[in-house]
């Protein structure tokens, strides 16, 4: 696997709205400190789960574990925001929010970004392959975002 791609926010950007850490998701967020994407799995159903839960949404079982994800995905749906959805993205509009399907079988809401600057809806299409990248958060975690593969 290649080196993690870290894409800091622009220098003058405010902090993104910080994701709280729910108890079930502590391993997910801990892994982001080293830019690693992990996904929760139910060992009984042998299926991936996202968002992380304290019980499997298929069997309600609790035999759960986190496994490394491939770090790749496919754009399922996308929308360009002409203005910020909250203060955490002030000054960074327009930007693209997308649903990304991971090969593990789960879907995540995320941002489509680029190391080369802002990304608009004209720069990415549904069906495009993407790979995970990381935006540093103030507390040492990283927020998973995606770039075109």
């Amino acid at each position: 696997m290649s080196e993690p791609l870290v894409i800091p926010a622009p220098d003058d950007a405010p902090d993104r709205q910080q994701p709280p850490i729910s108890p079930a998701a502590e391993p997910f967020w801990d892994a982001t400190r080293s830019c690693s994407l992990v996904i929760q799995w139910c060992r009984s159903c042998e299926r991936a789960i996202h968002f992380p839960r304290e019980a499997c949404p298929s069997c309600l079982g609790t035999d759960l574990e986190f496994r490394p994800a491939a770090g790749t995905g496919t754009v399922y749906a996308l929308s360009e925001m002409p203005s910020p959805g909250n203060a955490g993205m002030k000054g960074r509009a327009p930007y693209v929010v997308a649903l990304v399907d991971l090969p593990e079988g789960v879907r995540m809401l995320s941002s489509i970004v680029s190391a080369d600057g802002p990304v608009g809806a004209a720069d990415v299409a549904i069906g495009d392959p993407v790979r995970v990248a990381w935006e540093p958060l103030p507390d040492g975690r990283h927020l998973p975002v995606f770039v075109r593969a």
């Binding site: 002409p82 910020p84 929010v97 299409a125």
Partner: protein
């Protein structure tokens, strides 16, 4: 196996709503709730003393139906604070019809009021609070860091997917806004009454691509109430009853990132349930009130309810089928796009459906309307509930 024992057992016998072309109403939410309850009861020829079932889902406190019943000075024997967003009121009608058909209550009031527009202007925030358990919400953890504009961003994702998968166009979505506005030109109480064109929609600012401002519902103050009782008792009351012929509900997710398929909603379940209970098909619907939070909402729901095949919604709406004179007159009040939208439009769908069945709609009346559909959508395409109503002739 469809249980049809509920078919026509209960009826909507009183309706009222409070809206203004200015988008703003005077008075507190509680005052507006009391006003529309009083008016809906009077519409039916009933009084607050008759009410033994209460349905409401918003409150500044922690228990919506308790606090409103206390305010009204009633002690209901059926209580329901089900909150699914904009579809809450179709679900309330379903629950009320079930309770009435079992004799668990006799006269049910469903009520809603909100003043986000005037509250925002007064600096008091927009929508009323929603009481919740402690702890982070999944939305705060998994969606809000990405700063999607809400709720339009969620619907924009669905629109992008439908366009990609089925070739649906922005012009086709715009046609829904144009036709809805045409209805609003005939409603002197509508917030927006000037006709618009497809070009107007496409020229309006993008809110979240591919949705434009005129693809999006209003933010206004508003209030509405409906009163239900048994069809037997309804026949003794002031106005012709609107029989509850069929109901169906299905919710599939709370966050848009958890929606299983962004091109198919729970209406694909709730619609067939309601039609089966009613013993009717989409071809029997004379007038439809289909939640228009956004144009894409209507398109998805038309497909899921069976008015056209999945993926064919764009072509179905393109020639004005929803407009006055069209094959499926829809959102005849002007809808959430042009009539009013105080956050949850579902109550107004019911009020307009009943008025159409009674022939009370003046210039926008659909001639000979005997069967009406009101379909509520709540959350972000999350919670779907279908109500099919009919005149006495459909009993």
């Amino acid at each position: 196996m469809v249980d049809r024992s509920m078919r026509g057992a209960a009826a909507i016998v009183g309706v009222a709503d409070a809206v203004s072309p200015t988008g703003e109403l005077d008075g507190t939410v509680r005052a507006l709730e009391v006003q529309v309850i009083r008016e809906a009861l009077d519409d039916a020829g009933l009084t607050i003393a008759d009410v033994d079932g209460l349905f409401t889902c918003t409150t500044p406190g922690w228990a919506a139906s308790l606090e409103l019943a206390e305010y009204l000075g009633i002690a209901p024997r059926w209580t329901d604070s089900t909150q699914t967003g904009g579809s809450s009121f179709e679900i309330h009608v379903q629950h009320a019809a079930a309770a009435i058909s079992l004799g668990l209550c006799d006269v049910a009031v469903v009520v809603y009021a909100a003043t986000p527009r005037s509250s925002f202007k007064k600096g008091a925030g927009g929508y009323t609070s929603r009481q919740s358990l402690p702890g982070p919400t999944p939305s705060a953890e998994w969606e809000q860091p990405y700063a999607m504009r809400m709720p339009m961003g969620a619907y924009a994702l669905a629109a992008s997917r439908h366009m990609h998968q089925f070739g649906t166009t922005a012009e086709q979505l715009a046609q829904i806004a144009v036709d809805t506005r045409t209805w609003a030109t005939m409603n002197p109480r509508a917030r927006l009454q000037d006709p618009i064109t497809i070009d107007d929609v496409l020229a309006s600012p993008v809110q979240a691509s591919p949705l434009h401002k005129l693809d999006c519902c209003l933010v206004t103050d508003g209030a509405g109430a409906v009163v239900l009782t048994s069809t037997e008792r309804a026949r003794t009351l002031r106005k012709p009853p609107a029989l509850v012929l069929g109901t169906g509900t299905c919710h599939t997710h709370a966050m848009i990132s958890e929606m299983p398929d962004l091109t198919t909603t729970g209406a694909a379940v709730s619609g067939p349930l309601a039609f089966a209970q009613a013993g009717l098909t989409p071809a029997d619907i004379d007038v439809a009130q289909i939640y228009d939070s956004f144009t894409i909402t209507v398109l998805l729901l038309l497909e899921d309810l069976g008015f056209c095949a999945k993926g064919e919604g764009g072509a179905y709406v393109a020639d004005g089928v929803l407009a006055p004179g069209g094959a499926l007159p829809a959102n005849t009040s002007g809808g959430g796009l042009a009539y009013t939208h105080p956050g949850m439009f579902g109550i107004f769908l019911l009020v307009e459906a009943v008025r159409q069945l009674r022939g009370e709609c003046g210039p926008r009346q659909v001639a000979g309307a005997e069967v009406a559909l009101a379909h509520g959508s709540g959350g972000v395409l999350s919670a779907m509930s279908t109500t099919i109503l009919g005149t006495e002739a459909t009993a």
